[in-house]
Amino acid sequence: MNIPPQQLLILAGILFAIGVGGFVIRRNLIVVLMSIELMLNAANLTFIAASRMHSTSEVQNLDGAVFAIFVICVAAVEAAVGLALVIAFFRRHQSISLDSLGAGE
């Protein structure tokens, strides 16, 4: 429990950077959605690190944990709606590559 929050923030930063990279580079819609999930997890880790930073030895600050649970809830909704959109996209274009977006219309 004595891990400094700075290291958590560094790990969150690395994961968020990888997520942004995947979001920009990849053309597969499902991998793009997974990159978003990765970024949301990095945000969760940042919330946790902030929660650790603001808690003293007597009083534990739990605001960050509560917000991380809300982020998980939002991520579940986002994944469900995103995957429904992927299915709609697939029905329309017979592919889930973003490259087929311009050619379909």
Binding site: I18, F70, L83
Partner: protein
């Protein structure tokens, strides 16, 4: 010791994240993401947020990743790219992943044994109080009650949206 476990978990999470972005086969991406979520849940456990670790495993690994796998298999996406997948190379690729999972599980069990067995009663009470479910519930249903209700409305709206998105296309096909 904790630092060492944290570093290995962080390294595992980063490797898994890189695997998500670089894997050709979407199913491998999903499995890498699953691994990353598992490592992050272990990190949460390490710094004392037990409930968050459980929620991470249940919601992310249990529900969201199954949804991803379900869609990939529903749309039959894995097969075209998996066909030109050399079996020996695939096994060689899977071996480090298996080793990584095993190493982290071992590290986690060692840490858990150390935390539970090697601490005094006072330290154990302290461990239990940090991020305990009662405190978490008091904050969640006290300070953030409105946000909690808003989250329930969001879930309902998401359900309706998914049904509409899946239904509209079928009606168009039928008409």
């Amino acid at each position: 010791m904790e630092q060492l476990v944290f570093y290995s978990l962080g390294l595992g999470a980063v490797i898994g994240a890189l695997g998500v972005v670089t894997a050709k086969n979407p199913i491998l991406s999903v499995l890498s993401l699953l691994w990353t979520f598992f490592c992050l849940a272990c990190v949460y456990l390490l710094i004392g947020f037990e409930f968050l670790a459980v929620a991470q495993i249940l919601v992310y690994a249990g529900a969201i990743m199954v949804l991803f796998l379900f869609v990939i298999m529903l749309l039959n996406l894995g097969t075209s790219e998996a066909a030109d997948f050399d079996t020996a190379r695939a096994m060689g690729r899977r071996l480090p992943l298996v080793l990584l999972v095993g190493c982290t599980l071992a590290a986690l069990s060692i840490l858990a044994a150390q935390q539970v067995g090697g601490t005094s009663d006072e330290a154990r009470a302290d461990l239990r109080s940090v991020g305990s479910l009662t405190d978490l519930a008091q904050v969640m249903f006290g300070t953030y009650l409105l946000a909690f209700e808003a989250a329930s409305i969001l879930l309902l709206a998401g359900t309706v949206a998914v049904v509409m998105l899946a239904k509209r296309e079928r009606r168009k096909n039928a008409a």
